[in-house]
């Protein structure tokens, strides 16, 4: 784990994110917080059916819950240094289910100085308790010239 200091950062440095215990209650709370009441996240009977070639076997967590956790990790890391979370791109690789514990993490990929600012590119991933990557993507953080 490294602190968010632009000059000191180098490729390969890591950012640790928070562990998150997924439960039926956490999924239901995310429904209320996001207003996304898709039966994928609520209705076990519905989820017994097939989705094309996929059968999830029960309710699944919102993909955007991964997104929210990654975003939380990035802002918790960047904000104290005066850096700004500017972009996050993610794709979902595996469903997350009640009983899973997931954790986001980041790895510094590159730094870039532009005409007016300074940027850090971060590879991000969320893993479950089995070490499987359930979400992956890339983030972009801005370190304004006035920041450290």
């Amino acid at each position: 784990m490294t602190s968010a200091n632009f000059d000191a950062l180098k490729a390969g440095d890591t950012i640790d994110g928070p562990a998150f215990a997924v439960s039926r209650e956490s999924i239901r709370l995310f429904c209320d917080a996001s207003l996304d009441y898709n039966p994928l996240h609520l209705d076990d009977n519905y989820m017994k059916g097939d989705f094309g070639k996929t059968n999830f076997g029960g309710i699944i967590m919102h993909g955007m819950n991964n997104f929210g956790l990654i975003s939380r990790m990035l802002t918790d890391w960047a904000t104290p240094a005066g850096a700004i979370h500017r972009r996050l791109e993610t794709r979902w690789l595996k469903p997350v289910k009640p009983g899973d514990t997931i954790r986001p993490a980041g790895t510094i990929k590159a730094k870039q100085t532009t005409a007016k600012s300074r940027w850090v590119l971060v590879d991000v991933a969320v893993q479950n308790q089995r070490g499987e990557t359930v979400a992956a993507g890339e983030a972009m953080l801005e370190f304004p010239a006035s920041a450290n």
Binding site: D32, A33, F51, M64, R87, R91, W92
Partner: protein, 163 residues
Amino acid sequence: MAQAESSAATPFETDFWKDSKLRKMWDDIVPGEPRKTLPYTLTQEAIALYCRAVGETNPLYLDEAAAKAGPHGGLVAPPAIHILLMFACTPADDWMRSPGTVNAGQSWSYNIPARPGDTITLQARALDKFIKRERLFVVHDNVFFNQHGDVICSGRGQTIRPM
């Protein structure tokens, strides 16, 4: 932009089956055609609920005094509040609510934070649709604005549509 009357007086319909027949299927979605959207007033309660759901504890989102002394001069919402805004700013017949809609990935860019009390508007459309490995995809793009016309964030996503 297509914008319906504010639904502030109407409670949010949590049964996504209820209006499912009114929603466009993949076949009906025309890339480029604006989606109907609704202005939404973001409250501190909604921000706090979102924070609880993902475990956000940053005082910039939750502690008025601390936020006032912080970089934004007051409370703000976490960047990913667009997760809520996407559903808050669209009507019940929007195809994003079709049961079985599977999110395949998203990318978002952040300009300025949303604040409690902001009236948020959305400009949104399907931008593209395609078929891949027998699955029906739609690409959607979205831009959220505050009441001053400032861009809060913009994003693009892919969903797999129910058959």
